[in-house]
């Protein structure tokens, strides 16, 4: 899976009918690291993630961002779990293999379910699960896909604070050696989880120097609190 020789990078601008969203940004992603992009709502961070994945944007956008995404494969995890409501937990996890008409790797799927703590919900329908459980199923489905780069669009923001904190830990445990790009509006979340961190102001991506400690950072880390305040001020002014 490692592609040391290639790099995943972005460069260019993004506009819609009325305004500039990103002007001449540059971004290079480090592999096997967790990169976060933080911005206020409406700053275009989710749209940027879609650009990275090569998804079709609504027609109002004029996108001149060049990305090396053709060389990579992506999996996607969003705030909305995007589970298929008629399919059981195990069917949802193996969806990618079914769509590609591959042989189902049930052993791996069950193993992942065990890791996310839902081995007793193999045949349950999504509507019978809590929000936190559904997001864990989505996490298992994301990992099951085994793609080069994992894109996460505010994956924890719909959860209550206790569940969110559990999910952050679990997700980090399972994805710490992968290449992850996450957008979020929560500075603390970004600080706990990231190896590289950028914030969006004035249509640019600005890197932030992170505390020296490695993620998953402790919440009582003094330098983390300092960074938190710094980001907060920057976002407030943006």
């Amino acid at each position: 899976m490692k592609r040391k020789t290639l790099s995943f990078s972005l460069q260019g601008s993004l506009k819609n009918d009325e305004e500039t969203i990103f002007s001449n940004i540059k971004l290079k992603i480090n592999f096997n690291k967790w990169t976060s992009i933080i911005g206020k709502s409406g700053s275009g961070k989710s749209t940027l993630l879609k650009v990275m994945a090569g998804m079709d944007l609504p027609e109002v956008f004029i996108n001149t961002i060049k990305s090396s995404n053709k060389n990579f494969s992506f999996s996607w995890m969003a705030q909305n779990d995007l589970l298929l409501p008629w399919a059981s937990v195990i069917d949802n996890i193996t969806l990618g293999q079914k769509l590609r008409r591959e042989k189902l790797d049930l052993e791996r799927a069950l193993n992942l379910l065990k890791q996310v703590g839902l081995i007793n919900k193999v045949n349950a329908l999504p509507s019978t699960l809590s929000g936190g459980m559904r997001q864990r199923v989505a996490l298992a489905r994301t990992i099951m896909e085994n793609k080069n780069i994992i894109l996460m669009d505010e994956p924890f923001s719909a959860l209550d604070s206790i569940t969110r904190s559990e999910m952050q830990k679990l997700t980090w445990e399972l994805l710490k050696d992968k290449t992850v790009i996450m957008v979020t509006h929560d500075p603390l979340e970004a600080l706990l989880l990231s190896n590289d961190l950028y914030y969006i102001t004035k249509h640019k991506l600005n890197p932030i120097k992170l505390p020296n400690s490695e993620p998953f950072r402790k919440i009582n880390d003094k330098s983390l609190l300092y960074s938190h305040k710094f980001i907060f001020n920057k976002l407030e002014k943006s």
Binding site: M55, S75, N80, L84, L95, K98, S127
Partner: protein, 250 residues
């Protein structure tokens, strides 16, 4: 069981009201026969009714199945091809814009007096609700799920089969239920316009000979069959959408 009991009790209430109206207005039986007279007529004309019923049922069933297949096929064409949607949608609306009574004689002229003109009438009447309901369901899907499936490597076919069609089932169910209620109408209108068999024909025949009790027998059998068809369709619809809480409000 409870369900059947409810149907039987509402049928009995219906009979009582019918009887009361007949009794209170003191209508002669050539205007409004009472339920007992109709029952006797059913008994006397058992074979006649059975024969004509079979023909109408056959027309309705074949029309329903063909209309369903055709409607679903059109819905799928609409979702995979923009030009199909653009060119065919006005044509489909046209099938609804022309009153069905106006088409019926033309169809009989073209296809003949046999059962096919009635089957085509049935198809025409249910094609629109099924196509529109199914197409609506197919397109009303969260675009992020489509993006996710594309990212997972889905092609047009697997996307349809595993994502879009299951998502459209609750909408299709609504179309199916409408179709089940409308289908008998198509067949009977076809029979009125020109035929020598079927319940529609029998109604006209009985009316012409002032055998109103026989006419009522035909109507009751037709109503019974419509209710039966609706319930079968409803049962199947509920089964295929059992995962969807919005389809099952008690």
């Amino acid at each position: 069981m409870n369900y059947i009991f409810k149907y039987i009790s509402s049928f009995i209430i219906f009979l009582i009201i019918w009887w009361l109206i007949q009794y209170l207005t003191n209508s002669p039986s050539y205007i409004l026969p009472n339920p007992y007279e109709v029952f006797l007529s059913m008994k006397d004309n058992l074979y006649l009714l059975a024969y004509h019923s079979m023909i109408t049922f056959f027309e309705i069933l074949v029309g329903f199945v063909l209309g369903l297949i055709l409607g679903m096929y059109t819905g799928i064409l609409f979702i995979i091809s923009k030009s199909m949607r653009k060119w065919m949608l006005p044509f489909i609306i046209l099938t609804q814009a022309i009153p069905i009574f106006a088409i019926a004689p033309v169809l009989t002229l073209w296809v003949g007096y046999g059962i096919w003109s009635k089957i085509i009438m049935t198809i025409l009447i249910i094609y629109f609700p099924i196509t529109i309901a199914f197409y609506d369901g197919l397109k009303r899907i969260d675009p992020m799920i489509i993006n996710l499936a594309k990212m997972m490597g889905a092609n047009t076919f697997s996307m349809l089969l595993k994502i879009r069609i299951p998502y459209a089932l609750p909408q299709l169910s609504s179309g199916l239920k409408l179709a089940a209620a409308f289908a008998p109408m198509g067949a009977v209108i076809g029979e009125w316009v020109g035929s020598s068999e079927g319940l529609g024909y029998l109604m006209l025949y009985a009316s012409g000979r002032v055998q109103i009790d026989l006419m009522f027998s035909s109507i009751i059998i037709l109503a019974f069959f419509t209710i039966l068809l609706y319930n079968i369709v409803s049962y199947v619809s509920n089964y295929i959408t059992r995962w969807d809480p919005k389809s099952h409000i008690n």
